[in-house]
């Protein structure tokens, strides 16, 4: 199998044009830290962005950064930190969950729309992604969006590229809107709440004027009690004020409260971001569910009725990470029944390839939407050579 490592966009165009002429199926990758996610597909060759690295534009005062797609995420984070800025959406790191090595690339963050806890208020990766350059399945270089954050010129192909898992084009450069890092972050922790209560508390916090930037609940497990976490960021005096107000607001929920700061708090939020809270060995499957936050507790309860499940909530209850035994379909039929009942969608994040081949990894789409998806795929990649079948069969 040939592994292509284009050094620039022009080389990428030539590689893909040739693949298109010959009908060569291509896997698209960065450093392969997430190769074990998605539907397994069979391809003839791979194309990786790893030789295309570097920041091409960074204007801190304009809060914008453009980066070649193969640049390690850690480099981007470091470059921004030097100027006191960060990616607003707090992208998760899948390596601990998947047990992979290598450096995740910024291109994958865009292509898979990878976000973290701050997504609840700051938006997802797709909301900060304001420009892309990519090579489509015809081998043509295409741009959409740009380097300015307010731009409604033409169809927004940026959004289509975000979360398309490399099935529509090979990203060569991505441009993100960034934000200043806040002076202080502090987390209010409520102890001992049951799921439904906890999610109600999170809803009240998120529905308050106090600018919550993280809202998670970790149910009791083993000998550890449940903790409900509410994160605030900003100038120190403002954080103090808001902590006080939130404490007052959430008093009716009872239980003890305390405040976490610095290292300890950062570690907890990282474990929430990376879903390592689940602490489960590789012998269990992991699902990621997005649903209405008001349905979160019922959703988890429904799953627990049929499966030996462990779970926790982020995004105020709207994001549920669930681990279940690998047996049979790794819980797929139960999860799909739950999304049909409560709304939302579920993705099988971790399971052996045999299972990911046998069940739907991504939420099945209604027929009319699947027809549109196939049409869109053909509009970018008429021969179907880019990451074929990585998301859905026929796309």
């Amino acid at each position: 199998m040939t592994h292509h490592l284009p050094r620039d966009e022009q080389e990428a165009c030539a590689i893909i044009r040739e693949a298109s002429d010959k009908g060569t199926l291509l896997s698209l990758a960065g450093q392969n830290t997430k190769a074990e996610m998605g539907r397994p597909n069979q391809t003839d060759a791979s194309i990786s962005s790893t030789a295309m690295t570097g920041v091409t534009l960074y204007e801190p005062a304009e809060m914008v950064i453009s980066v070649r797609s193969g640049t390690p995420l850690s480099d981007v984070v470091r470059t921004l930190a030097e100027k006191g800025q960060e990616l607003p959406f707090e992208p998760m790191d899948y390596r601990p969950l998947l047990g992979t090595r290598g450096e995740p690339t910024i291109g994958a963050v865009a292509a898979m729309n990878i976000s973290g806890p701050r997504r609840i208020t700051a938006g997802a990766a797709r909301d900060s992604l304001i420009g892309v350059r990519f090579v489509n399945g015809r081998g043509e270089a295409v741009k959409s969006g740009g380097r300015v954050m307010k731009n409604v010129t033409g169809l927004d192909l940026v959004k289509l590229m975000a979360g398309s898992w490399g099935t529509l084009g090979f990203l060569t450069e991505v441009t993100f809107k960034v934000l200043p890092k806040q002076e202080r972050r502090a987390t209010l922790v409520l102890r001992g709440l049951k799921d439904a209560q906890a999610l109600e508390a999170l809803s009240q916090a998120l529905g308050s004027p106090y600018d919550v930037t993280g809202a998670a609940h970790i149910p009791a497990r083993d000998r550890q009690g449940a903790s409900t976490l509410i994160r605030l960021e900003g100038f120190s005096v403002s954080v103090d004020y808001r902590l006080g107000e939130l404490r007052r607001l959430l008093k009716p929920f009872g239980g003890s409260t305390d405040i976490l700061e610095r290292g300890g708090a950062d570690a907890v939020w990282q474990s929430i971001r990376d879903a390592t809270v689940l602490k489960d060995g590789a012998d269990r499957a992991i699902w990621r569910v997005s649903t209405a936050p008001t349905k979160g507790a019922e959703f988890a309860k429904f799953i627990a009725q049929s499966l030996d499940a462990q779970w926790f909530y982020d995004w105020g209850g709207g994001l549920i990470w669930i681990s279940v035994p690998l047996a049979e379909d790794a819980g797929a039929s139960v999860l799909r029944e739950a999304t049909r009942t409560f709304g939302g969608h579920a993705t099988l994040v971790r399971a052996p390839a045999e299972i990911r081949s046998a069940v739907d990894v991504f939420e099945p789409q209604a027929d009319a939407l699947m027809t549109l998806a196939k049409g869109i795929k053909a509009a970018f990649d008429p021969k179907g050579i880019l990451n074929p079948g990585r998301m859905y069969a026929g796309v």
Binding site: R147, L160, A162, I376
Partner: protein
């Protein structure tokens, strides 16, 4: 008037009677407008220099009716121009003679509000402000706030991906939309997204936002609603040099402060607005910033103290922190009346390019040169945080040729925005107004890719076809 419309399809015009009869079978009589007098009410939108009377106007009340109309038009090859309230400044809702207008304004109800989940499901013809009003009793609001929010519909906001003065903090429509019910051209009704974050599959919601009515007709929307801040207060700074105002904006952001609004006005804009609104603006400065922050009183005081300290090295000639509700209102009244006040002193066209904010001094200098070279005047208002620039090019309609000159100057200004790394339109949309400039920003491959995606939804160019893409070189699928 320099923008061309496609030649009406004579065959369709010839079938008008039969098309109206067909539509008449799908709609109650009051929902179908056929008389010329009544159709005239729909001949233009916010870009009033251009007018075309449509074949007929359909005003359905349900998704099912929209579906029936779309299926009929699809089967009979009739063009459809979707319409919300008709406030588009780029001509996005201007009809054509061989098209029907499909207006969603009758579908204007709130269907469900979930305060705990922070979402509202609404019919797409509801006004932008209507959503905020429906949730205000619990202290919530819908964030994107285009200045036409009293009239414009959420359907139109989705079609144009509308912004507003507060998008630096809250984002634009695409960042606040969770789901839609949409009718495709062949009448198929699709549900995209829902009450949850991040819809599954390809990001069709993101694609629909800003698609200018070319992919389908949205009949219902699920939007995020947010709890309003405890309070908000602006401060006003006047500078003797444009560069100082620009550097002050950069310094505020470098200090880690994201104000909820950061507005810039140049000298002509200050003078026009002050004469109209008596807002207490300084008349002896070259540039003025309005900086607004949110929070509790204590938080606002702290933040404004920081901002004043940041501004001081740039030697502002005027510095005024609002001390009362009345003062805040006056400061905003001036800025918000910029378009109306300019309309009192001259005719104008409002441009909408976005530029990298660091380019502001250069761009303003060039705009001045461009406009002067056509013998016209200009006032500039600018969303300084996000780079969205609104030059108001002033002219006199009664002087023959001046409007054409203003259009030419506007074109030059937009080309300049693209040249410095920006774009043709930040929030008003392409419509017909900027359609023929698309080739300045996009090359052939870029536009072809957009048109191929468009073609998935509408291969025969029946949906709002005169807009967005240059009339030459159109691709189907």
């Amino acid at each position: 008037m320099t923008i061309a419309f496609p030649k009406p399809d004579e065959a369709v015009l010839g079938r008008r009677k039969e098309i109206i009869e067909g539509l008449g079978r799908l709609l109650p009589p009051e929902a179908l407008i056929v008389s010329e007098d009544e159709r005239r009410a729909f001949e233009t939108d916010g870009l009033t220099a251009y007018r075309r009377i449509p074949l007929a106007v359909a005003l359905p009340s349900t998704t099912e009716e929209v579906s029936a109309i779309m299926r009929f038009c699809h089967e009979h090859g009739v063009k459809v121009v979707p319409r919300g309230a008709g406030t588009s400044l780029s001509g996005g809702a201007i009809p054509q003679e061989d098209a029907i207008v499909l207006g969603v304004s009758k579908m204007n109800r709130v269907l469900d509000v979930d305060f705990a989940g922070r979402t509202a499901r609404v019919q797409a013809g509801i006004t932008n402000l209507g959503i905020s009003q429906a949730v205000a009793h619990e202290g919530f609001f819908y964030a994107p706030d285009p200045s036409s929010q009293l009239a414009c519909t959420i359907a139109g906001n989705i079609a144009m991906n509308s912004g507003g003065a507060h998008c630096l903090k809250y984002g634009v429509t695409t960042n606040n939309l969770l789901g839609v019910t949409m009718v495709l051209l062949d009448g198929t009704v699709v549900e995209i997204g829902g009450e949850h974050l991040d819809s599954s599959g390809y990001d069709l919601l993101g694609l629909i936002c800003g698609s200018e009515g070319q992919l389908g007709v949205v009949t219902e929307a699920v939007v995020r609603i947010l709890r309003a801040a405890e309070g908000a207060r602006p401060a006003l700074f006047g500078f003797e040099r444009v560069e100082d105002a620009g550097a002050c904006v950069a310094a505020i952001i470098a200090a880690g402060i994201i104000p909820v609004a950061l507005e810039y006005m140049d000298k002509p804009a200050i003078q026009i607005c002050e004469a109209f609104a008596h807002a207490g603006y300084p008349l002896d400065v070259e540039a003025m910033l309005i900086v607004e922050v949110e929070g509790s009183d204590q938080e606002i005081d702290d933040m404004l103290r920081r901002i004043v300290a940041i501004a001081e090295p740039f030697k502002p000639k005027t510095m005024k922190v609002s001390q009362s509700e009345a003062e805040s209102a006056a400061i905003w009244k001036g800025r918000k009346s910029a378009f109306g006040a300019t309309g009192r002193v001259a005719d104008y066209i409002c441009m909408d390019g976005t530029i990298p904010t660091g380019q502001l001094p250069y761009v303003l200098r060039r705009i001045d040169e461009i406009v002067k070279s056509y013998g016209l005047g200009v006032a500039n208002v600018f969303h300084a945080g996000d780079g969205n620039l609104h030059p108001l090019v002033m002219f006199n309609t009664n002087v023959p040729g001046e409007m054409e000159k203003a259009e030419k100057a506007g074109e030059d200004i937009l080309k300049l925005c693209v040249e410095v790394g920006g774009c043709l339109t930040g929030e008003h949309g392409v419509g017909i107004e900027k359609r023929d400039l698309m080739t300045c920003q996009f090359n052939e491959a870029d536009l072809a890719q957009q048109m191929r995606v468009r073609g998935v939804f509408d291969p025969r160019w029946l949906l709002n076809p005169a807009k967005v893409f240059p009339l030459e070189g159109r691709l189907a699928a």
